[in-house]
Amino acid sequence: MPSTMFDRIWDQHVVADLGEGWSLLYLDRILVHDLSGGRAMEEVAQAGYRLAEPRHVFATPDHAVSSAPGRTAETFPVGAKLLRSLRARCAAEGVRMFDLGQRGNGIVHVIAPEMGIVLPGLTLACGDSHTCTNGGVGAMAFGIGASELSHALATQTLPQRRPGTFRIRFEGARPAGVTAKDMILAAIGRFGAAAGTGMAMEYAGSAVRAMSLEERLTLCNLSIEMGAKVGMVAPDDTTFEYLAGRDFAPKGRAWEAALADWRRLPSDTEARFTRDEVIEMASIAPQITWGTSPEQVADVTGHVPRPESAPDAARAKSWEAALRYMGLEPGQPLIGTKVDWVFIGSCTNSRVSDLRAAADVLRGRKRAPHVTAWVVPGSEKVKAEAEAEGLHHRFLEAGFEWREPGCALCVSANGEAVPPGARCVSTSNRNFVGRQGTGARTHLASPAMAAAAALAGSIVDVRNF
């Protein structure tokens, strides 16, 4: 019977059938970070358990560390406490940890593909909702809560209910100025922030096949913003070329065996999905969010919608609240809206290709004087690569701050925040109320759109820039 990639990976990892659609799933890899990792490992120890497979667990501090140039663990003292706990527990349990300043340190979902920790066909869990990012290499990767993380660490398994499958095929040639970020934002706008609830996403189609591995990671990253825990792209030669030689990727004969397995992963042509949609690439323009949910998004050439034109009363009410919070008028054009802050970074858009795309827009120009602009590379490796290419000089000359790796302004758990009322064009993944700081107004966009906004001091169409 024809099957999907998701079915294959799921079936291979079932340890026991728990009934009613529940399975006990084996986890090949677990990632932990400073915000919840130390605490989860402490709870496991307090309950009298040891880690089941400590060599298959990897740790990195990212959420609650400062991104200030020259930062140390102590720069954000509240986070330092979490970091000390993570260090102590990793040392006690024999878990590999990539500490600040070390090779391998960075945002957990940037380092996992970069180090070859996540591989096609693997299951991976992490106490972070954007774990779905890792599905870009063809893995089944999902975010879990704190109690589930303790369970995962103590048993290397998780009871999970099998989700449905939802495929989106992006077909056709990519229009100018349209990035992976625009594609997934357009999909969320079209299908809604709950369309993926109870679903595992697979992204396919000619436009996805033509994507770089880093772009596929961005595409999968926002699966959670559509409600899905899992987002995947079938592995292919692009994936294999990316992974070859990475620190924890198989080598020699193991690599050959892995390749043979990986080539059998892609969904059969006749495979049936619970839901199957096609998006024509020609219909996608550069996107920017106007509201406080990622589904509140529009073409950059569009207008802020009028609540009275909402499809239902509940939606009209939430649009009104979003416009009030965002300080926008119904019907106003998005282009020309004044911007105070620009943030390029996060597990969505902090890879070296993202930084190149942003730097390309700058072309020797300077940010608008009233704009504060930050670039936060996703990892030590990204930072080193970018510096080797001289990207940091281009950002610094344009008046951007060049900072240390971490989650930084995406999550605002590290003492860094966009000030109340300030408007920020951000390459991150969430425009929720207060996400980037109390009263902060976030517009999600691609790195190129964010760089262009920093130069203009307002929202602009990157295609004319």
């Binding site: 006990l24 972070d128 704190a146 369970h151 825990k229 065996a257 207060g434």
Partner: protein
């Protein structure tokens, strides 16, 4: 985990769609506060005025809803971040059951880990419960009975709801997941032995 049998109270009509876990508990509170101290910070950006007084536009602040264990919401409640602190904060403000048409998947799982019951009902039913509550004398009460899997509305209508058998049992008895899984230790060991044979590459590179 706290066990859950039945709860009763005036159903708080929050009724917003896409209520995310960032709004339920800001991350800054999770960095600095333990799980038992989060109640006062639940929904803090909506719940308080700038001067720290209660914002009476926020429905859960109003009588008779204040402190009620049952909350009504619209689609996609608890979407966004995986932070389990959202559940701890809701429980800290007294909520033991949220009734919504759909929930964020990770939040939904986190609820069951802590003894907060998420109930899925169609939006029309939720609106009717809100209407009956508002129209009833002294804002009539709703009861959620997990053993019988019914919501009893203020007018006495009984609305059945679905819940997973294993989650229901664990919740009624307050059972710990790790202990349940470790009963499968032999199956886990057998799976690992088989997998090391068939997928050696997945084990070698991190050994």
């Amino acid at each position: 985990m706290q066990s859950f049998t039945t709860v009763t109270g005036p159903a708080i009509p929050l009724m917003a769609a896409n209520v995310d876990t960032d709004v339920i508990i800001p991350i800054q509170r999770l960095v600095g506060t333990g799980r038992d101290g989060l109640g006062p910070y639940a929904f803090e950006r909506l719940r308080y005025n700038a001067d720290g007084t209660d914002n009476m536009d926020f429905v859960p602040n109003r009588e008779p809803y204040r402190g009620s264990p049952i909350m009504l919401a619209a689609e996609n409640f608890g979407c966004g971040s995986s932070r389990e602190g959202a559940v701890w904060a809701l429980m800290g403000m007294g909520v033991r059951c949220v009734i919504a048409p759909s929930f964020g998947d990770i939040f939904f799982a986190n609820c069951f880990q802590n003894g907060l019951l998420p109930v899925r009902l169609p939006i029309e039913e939720i609106r009717r419960i809100a209407e009956e509550t508002e129209a009833g004398p002294g804002n009539a009460r709703t009861t959620v009975d997990l053993a019988r899997q019914v919501v009893v509305t203020p007018t006495g209508r009984e609305i059945p709801f679905q819940v997973d058998g294993r989650k229901k049992e664990a919740m009624l008895q307050g059972l710990d997941d790790i202990a349940m899984t470790l009963k499968q230790a032999e199956a886990i060991a057998a799976w690992k032995a088989r997998d090391k044979q068939s997928r050696g590459w997945a084990w070698e590179s991190v050994a």
